[in-house]
């Protein structure tokens, strides 16, 4: 039954103040409408209960994205298109820009708003798990004043929230602290455009040396509200990213969500797929799951070797026999993170003579053979590490060769730099700066570079 427009009132105040005054008058009598992508669907079906509507699209205080030093503030009436097109949102909060691109088609993205998605409070809203993992704050306003609340506290039950009948969501605040995180979001639906999610998972995490330092997870369409998965997060935090950790997390995840059978999917499907999404996120932690498995396999095998053989095997990672001996003596290692930390400690405590021995296992930057007879493996790794440097113009190569010779004349040893990911020009710049160092300073700088090389090589050794 089509709605009768004469039974509805709609006004469009030109300021937030006027909108709030109207809503304060008899709280609950006037309801807010923004882009109409939810409200007008109910209206067309004759199911819209409220009769008096106040359009907030005309309030300039609700629009615009402001970038501040510590946070990005998004006006609640910003559309999905606004989110997709904003350079800072796209760069620092990429999950928000991506989930905006998955919401509806272009026409709905041009009208639907972030504040509307929050206020509509659907458990399937695609931007909502993303706001949970970014731990957004909301600024709520009414004629009584404003308050700032953590978004994670906003939804209190199916279609229930902390929003008062006279209140509007004015701003969504995102702290700018996610630039060094692994970020993940996936929507599973019949198609992206114009199809509501069957399952949605978002996650951000920080992983260092195979260990999960911190993680936030949130899921859509698996409970009465968009769910922040606190219990699953707790199982993952401070753990090594390996199979055991994943299986523990998966078990808790499936206890933590409450999916239902409905028109779009079944509870069982949702539960199984959600675990697969967690696996996919997990695998994106600085290397695939294969990486983690094979690392542990090599570590386990190495732990069983005799001390001499174990030292020989790990020697190409560093080049110092003292380092290799002490590493072998420290076995068994609980995990890769411990192994890497031990490597750093042993390296920094070695004598200068041991350091020099390690330096001599490298070829000069730009050359392929080292001073000492080094292993085939060490030569292969050097070639990989220096690959950017060797693909450089002849002039730079020539300057590098000259700089190397000058370095050797001055310090009596070869120039050491962690070349992975560095272009020849960057290496040259470093070389020219370090030529000005005194001998003691330069020895320590070279040792720090070698420490970084060892870290990279140990990880390579554990995966190859």
């Amino acid at each position: 039954m089509r709605a009768n427009p004469a039974e509805y009132e709609l006004v469009a105040p030109s300021s937030l103040r006027d909108a709030l005054a109207l809503m304060a008058n008899n709280p609950g009598e006037w309801m807010p409408i923004a882009g109409g992508t939810d409200v007008m669907v109910l209206y067309a079906a004759g199911k819209l209960l409220g009769r008096k509507w106040v359009s907030v699209l005309s309030c300039p205080e609700m629009r615009g994205i402001t970038v501040e030093a510590a946070e990005v503030r998004i006006g609640a009436a910003c559309t999905y298109t606004d989110l997709r097109q904003h350079p800072v949102v796209a760069k620092e909060f990429s999950l928000l820009a991506r989930s905006a691109a998955w919401t509806g088609g272009i026409a709905n993205q041009n009208r639907g708003t972030l504040g509307g998605n929050i206020a509509n409070a659907s458990p399937a809203g695609d931007s909502l798990p993303v706001l949970l993992v970014y731990d957004a704050d909301l600024i709520l306003v009414s004629a009584r004043g404003e308050r700032r609340i953590p978004y994670r506290t906003f939804h209190t039950g199916y279609k229930k929230s902390l929003l008062g009948p006279d209140e509007l969501i004015q701003t969504v605040c995102l702290r700018r602290e996610f630039t060094n995180c692994t970020a993940y979001a996936k929507k599973v639906g019949a198609r992206n455009a114009q199809a509501i999610s069957k399952v949605f998972l978002a996650g951000v995490g920080r992983v260092a040396d195979g260990q999960i330092e911190s993680v936030r997870l949130a899921a859509g369409s698996v409970g009465p509200i968009p769910l922040r998965l606190y219990k699953t997060e707790a199982v993952l935090t401070s753990q090594v990213a390996n199979d055991v950790t994943f299986e523990n997390a998966k078990r808790i995840l499936q206890q933590e969500v409450q999916p239902i059978d409905d028109i779009r999917s079944s509870a069982r499907y949702r539960s199984v797929v959600l675990a697969s999404l967690l696996r996919e996120f997990f695998d994106s932690f600085g290397g695939s799951q294969d990486f983690v498995v094979s690392m542990n396999g090599i570590l386990a095998r190495w732990s069983q070797l005799s001390a001499t053989t174990a030292a020989e095997e790990i020697l190409p990672c560093c080049g110092s026999r003292a380092w290799a001996r002490q590493m072998a003596a420290q076995r068994p290692f609980e995990d890769v993170a411990t192994l890497l930390a031990t490597s750093d400690r042993i390296w920094l405590e070695l004598s200068a003579a041991d350091w020099l021995e390690a330096f001599q296992s490298h070829p000069r930057i730009g050359e392929t053979r080292s001073h000492l007879e080094s292993s085939a493996r060490s030569q292969q790794w050097s070639a990989q590490e220096q690959s950017l440097a060797t693909e450089s113009p002849d002039a730079v190569k020539y300057a590098l060769a000259e700089g190397n010779r000058e370095y050797e004349r001055k310090f009596g040893r070869i120039f050491i730099i962690c070349a992975s990911g560095k272009s020849a020009a960057e290496i040259l710049e470093n070389l020219q700066r370090r030529l000005k160092n005194d001998d003691a300073t330069e020895l320590h700088e070279a040792a720090e570079q070698q420490r970084q090389i060892v870290q990279i090589r140990v990880k390579k050794w554990l995966t190859e």
Binding site: P5, A6, E7, E9, A12, A44, L57, I106, A107, A193
Partner: protein, 167 residues
Amino acid sequence: MIPRGETQPIEIQMTVNGATRIVRALPMERLLDVLREDLELTGTKEGCGEGECGSCSILMNGALVNSCLIPVLQANGANILTIEGLAHDERLHPMQQAFLECGAAQCGICTPGMILAAVHLLDRNPTPSLEEIREALSGNLCRCTGYLQIFEAVAKAAGATHDGPEK
């Protein structure tokens, strides 16, 4: 005809296909209905009436929107382009011409919205890839063509007005 109820009609002014139009309408009337019934611009079609199919797509202030989801009050003062505003005199818009040549229209219900969605794309991205064409039209459903001729037409129109689409 305005249905009976408590709310009174108000004056709405819009620029529609380049001309200023003033209508008296109830604020919650759908822009789609005002275009079709008050302004007699029946090129804009109603498909699902709930923002899923894109048949009622028009450009409002340059942005693609579903006119079935817009209360006309929110269109007050807006610049509207409907399918009727694309051709000039007897000369079809290059997108319309491309749809004709590629057989990209069958029953015709989705066609006006599809063409406006495609025009909206080329306004922003004159040389779209096939993937970009598919994304831009993903909110417009067609039950006849299977979409292939439509994608072809958009690529052709991009080639007609520009150097050609990048594949």
